[in-house]
């Protein structure tokens, strides 16, 4: 007030006295420009000054203010409106709240109707922020804010009119609404954030103590799980913190989410992509995923951006149900991932230019793939190059909580116990639970209790469970469910009741038929059924099980031989019978079946060994034995026959009887194609091994056969070799001598220049030699493989047949009397024909 008076030197008490009344009047008056002149606010001296200015220019402004102002600057309405609401007296009309400042001045604020929505939004926003801060996520991670509605509920809507699926209605719109595991959500978000540098050009913010966040999180988990999560989280941390490659892309360019259906994988992918600022492009199982179309779609999604419309966000590709995609499509995806920059390729060779029709640019957008079964063979190459995220099961408590919200919103009454039962029944499948609730609701059932939930058979999915889970179910008695809190007394008995007798049978049948691999299943049962805890003193159970196995085998044979596939409906009864015979309460330990494969390989091996042995047996003996006869009757006894007692001395020192014995032995061995082969054991010792035939007749449990000593075996081996060679040579010589007789007969008939055999006449022989040396055209190779230079043609020999053969030879070659006598120094090998018979 003082400055007011000082500035203008006016002493006026009017405003002071009637300030409050003026304010009330100001609110009620319609001419707002006039009101502004009279308005006084206690805590704002600046405004007052302006108002004073207006006041001085009373006349001018008044005229101006009466007419609507031409330019908005004159019109200081925002000031006025805000100023209007802070008043000194409680306003006469409408709601108000009081605000007291630090000086003790109290002001009253109007509450306007049309601001309520904004107020609610602000309230929800603040709620959300507090939730965020409580759950430990730093706000920096959340880049762009979405519209901040929480669970979108149509609270006031009439249920009968709404035809939307509840699953869509209550689908999470925001990151915090997700029901899936927090760790998984965060991992995916972090991975997606790694793409920021290349997609948005944003630099990666340095990590601020992720260890604290991690430890907070793991403490909240189960003790068992925290162990696992610590190592898993370390692994994923490493993956996520790995260096970016040359194009600033993360090391794993595609993320692969896997898990049973209904967990919220697709929802998660969509939400996270939207959250990180991408526009989502989805390819799912409904689209045509043949090779060319797939390629085109990937290219459009990753390389193009929508220029029309409001979506100027970069694309993120989500490929749903990728385990059903054809392998060609997956190969195309891999090729896209591994694309290098085309510029480098072109420089390398001119051919590359011609071959490459399209420009191949590097992948610059993230791709998220979703599958149900991670171990489909088509996905194997993708698994190595993808960031794998396996979805754990949703926590039943969280799911029940969400279901409670949903039921509350739609006016259904259900207690927590019922909802937990529903969760268990559907195996924590979110979609199935919500669909069941909607179904029950639409049938008019507003009140849920456990009995109705348990007896319901709709809303459940066909599930294809893995082999190990099926084996577990077969060999384990189902656990009785715990009594729920607040469950009625009927509930307990009802749960035990259905789970015995017929119900179990039906359950197993259903389970086994939904998993189609009957062969593997049977093998697993066969391998594991003996290790189950049986109370079977008379072994009747085991016999029954084996009978069932025989039945199954016969059935299989009928099906395959006669293509009588209608018999396949009897396959599931084998596991059901096994369940009744062998199920126990404890958790079974199941081993993957190997015995079938091992037996098969052993049979093959044995057969091959026997065939190899049989092939080289001389025909005289081979005509009398066949492979089955050999295997069953002869072989084991034969191996005993060939181990007589022999002295390990030089065979020259043997007595006649021993020599005869040795000879017989060797004869037998040659006739049956048995030899001792020197083999080196892993320890480095040398042993003699009787080929592979010993394995054929090696039966576990029998005492080992008496083995000969190393020296005797060596002796026998050597003698056998010699005898073999002798026999071969004898056979050849017989063959050769027969040939010479036939050739001589031919010679007398015709005149041939080139003769294979030497003539009797010495002179003719020399002439032949000369002619032969003349006509030779092919260079002969000497001992070292070098070609001998064609010698000079020797002079025609004289017909002088007398004189030594040496002289003739000297004259035939190099007709000179100058000879060279070599002085022995280093000597290389001298070639001479050596016959085996000289060595033996």
């Amino acid at each position: 007030m003082d400055e007011y008076d000082e500035m203008y030197g006016i002493e006026d008490d009017f405003e002071q006295q009637f300030a409050d009344e003026l304010e009330v009047m100001a609110e009620m008056d319609l001419m707002q420009c006039l009101i502004s002149l009279w308005f006084l606010t206690a805590p704002k001296p600046k405004k007052r000054r302006q108002d004073v200015v207006k006041k001085l220019q009373f006349g001018v402004e008044n005229c101006d203010d009466i007419t609507p102002p031409s330019s908005p600057e004159v019109y200081d309405r925002p000031q006025v409106t805000t100023a209007r609401h802070a008043q000194k007296r409680p306003p006469a009309i409408g709601d108000y709240i009081t605000v007291t400042d630090s000086m003790g001045n109290r002001v009253y604020l109007n509450k306007k109707e049309d601001k309520e929505k904004r107020h609610r939004q602000v309230l929800e926003e603040s709620q959300r922020l507090t939730e965020l801060m409580n759950s430990g996520i730093s706000p920096e991670l959340l880049a762009e804010e979405q519209k901040d509605s929480g669970v979108d509920g149509d609270s006031g809507e009439d249920e009968g009119l709404s035809s939307r699926l509840w699953v869509d209605q209550f689908s999470p719109q925001h990151y915090t609404d997700l029901l899936s595991d927090d760790f998984t959500n965060r991992c995916l978000l972090k991975w997606l954030k790694l793409w920021d540098t290349v997609v948005f050009g944003r630099e990666r913010k340095p990590r601020s103590t992720p260890a604290d966040v991690r430890s907070n999180f793991t403490n909240a988990q189960n003790q068992n799980q925290s162990q696992r999560f610590k190592t898993k989280s370390q692994m994923t941390e490493e993956i996520l913190e790995a260096e970016l490659d040359q194009y600033k892309r993360p090391k794993f360019k595609v993320a692969l989410l896997s898990g049973p259906p209904g967990l919220g994988k697709t929802t998660l992918a969509h939400i996270i992509a939207k959250h990180a600022g991408y526009n989502v492009v989805e390819i799912n199982a409904s689209d045509d995923r043949s090779a060319e179309l797939f390629q085109k779609r990937i290219d459009t999604a990753t390389q193009m951006k929508s220029v029309l419309g409001a979506n100027e966000k970069p694309n993120c590709l989500i490929i749903d149900e990728i385990d059903g995609a054809p392998a060609a499509a997956i190969n195309i995806l891999l090729a896209t991932l591994n694309r290098k920059d085309s510029r480098e390729g072109e420089e390398s060779g001119g051919n590359a230019l011609k071959k490459r029709k399209k420009k191949q640019s590097v992948l610059l957008r993230p791709i998220i793939c979703i599958c149900n079964d991670l171990y489909v063979p088509a996905l194997r190459p993708l698994r190595q190059q993808a960031f794998l995220l396996t979805f754990p099961q949703t926590l039943p408590s969280r799911l029940a909580q969400r279901l409670a919200e949903i039921t509350r919103r739609h006016g259904m009454k259900a207690d927590t116990g019922t909802l937990m039962a529903l969760c268990e029944k559907t195996d924590n499948d979110i979609r199935a639970c919500i669909n069941t609730l909607q179904f029950l609701h639409s049938r008019g059932q507003k009140h849920l209790d456990q009995r109705s939930v348990n007896s319901i058979s709709v809303g459940l999915k066909d599930q294809n469970k893995g082999l190990f889970s099926v084996w577990q179910e077969i060999f384990q008695l189902p656990r009785l469910k715990r009594k729920r809190i607040g469950g009625d007394s009927f509930g307990g008995f009802d749960e035990a009741g259905p789970k015995d007798g017929t119900q179990r049978l039906q359950h197993i049948l259903h389970l086994v038929s939904s998993n189609g691999e009957h062969e593997k299943l049977t093998q697993g049962l066969y391998d594991n059924f003996l290790s189950m805890k049986l109370k079977d003193p008379g072994m009747l159970g085991v016999c029954a099980g084996l009978d069932w196995m025989c039945f199954s085998d016969l059935l299989n044979e009928c099906v395959l031989h006669g293509q009588n596939y209608s018999l396949m409906r009897y396959f599931p009864f084998l596991p059901a019978a096994f369940h009744h015979l062998y199920a126990a309460n404890s958790v079974p330990r199941i081993n993957y079946p190997h015995s079938n494969y091992e037996a098969f390989t052993k049979t093959q091996h044995t057969k091959n060994a026997l065939l190899a042995m049989l092939n080289d047996i001389p025909p005289a003996v081979q005509s009398r034995i066949s492979i089955s006869c050999l295997c069953l009757d002869i072989l084991s006894l034969l191996l005993d026959l060939i181990s007589p007692k022999l002295r390990p001395v030089n065979p020259q020192l043997y007595s006649t009887r021993e020599k005869q014995q040795l000879y017989d032995l060797i004869d037998t061995m040659i006739n049956y194609n048995l030899t001792y082969r020197q083999d080196r054991t892993p320890e480095g010792q040398y042993t003699y091994v009787l080929d592979n035939v010993e394995d054929v007749v090696h039966f576990p449990g029998l005492p080992p056969r008496r083995q000969l000593t190393y020296q005797v075996k060596q002796l026998i081996a050597r003698e056998t070799e010699l005898e073999r060679m002798r026999r071969v040579e004898r056979a050849q010589q017989k063959r050769n001598s027969q040939k010479t007789e036939t050739v001589k007969k031919d010679q007398e008939g015709k005149k041939t220049e080139v003769k294979k055999q030497t003539n009797r006449n010495h002179q003719q022989r020399l002439e032949n030699i000369v002619k032969q040396t003349v006509v030779e055209s092919r260079p002969e190779l000497d001992f070292f493989g070098r070609a001998i230079v064609p010698k000079e043609k020797p002079a025609v020999t004289t017909t002088n047949g007398k004189g030594g053969g040496v002289v003739h030879i000297g004259k035939a070659v190099g007709n000179s009397d100058v000879w060279f006598r070599f002085n022995e120094g280093v000597s290389n090998a001298v070639r001479r024909n050596v016959y085996i018979r000289e060595l033996l």
């Binding site: 000497d782 230079v789 000879w819 060279f820």
Partner: protein, 110 residues
Amino acid sequence: MVQIVISSKAGEGPAEWLLVELQGEVVSRQNTGLAGNLMGDLHYTKEGVPVLIVGHHILYGKQVKLEKPFETMETNQENPTSYTVSALIKKKLIFKTRPKPIITNVPKKV
């Protein structure tokens, strides 16, 4: 100091000879003496390996560069201390492998 003058013929340079070195001795069987007789044949294979055929022996060798070349000189009659170079020897063929006999009775088939 004694000075020995070595000069080469005017015009073209001295001839170049090749030295053949054998590890052994060359004998004459008929005792006719070696002088003037044909010793043998010297051939070269495609790869440049020298092949010497003496009598019924065949020798393989190789061509080696002499680290100290030789030269043959003739003394001048007027001036005993001046020599004329008649040939230079820079390379030699050395046959140091054991000679192989040339066998003429090799049957075509065993």
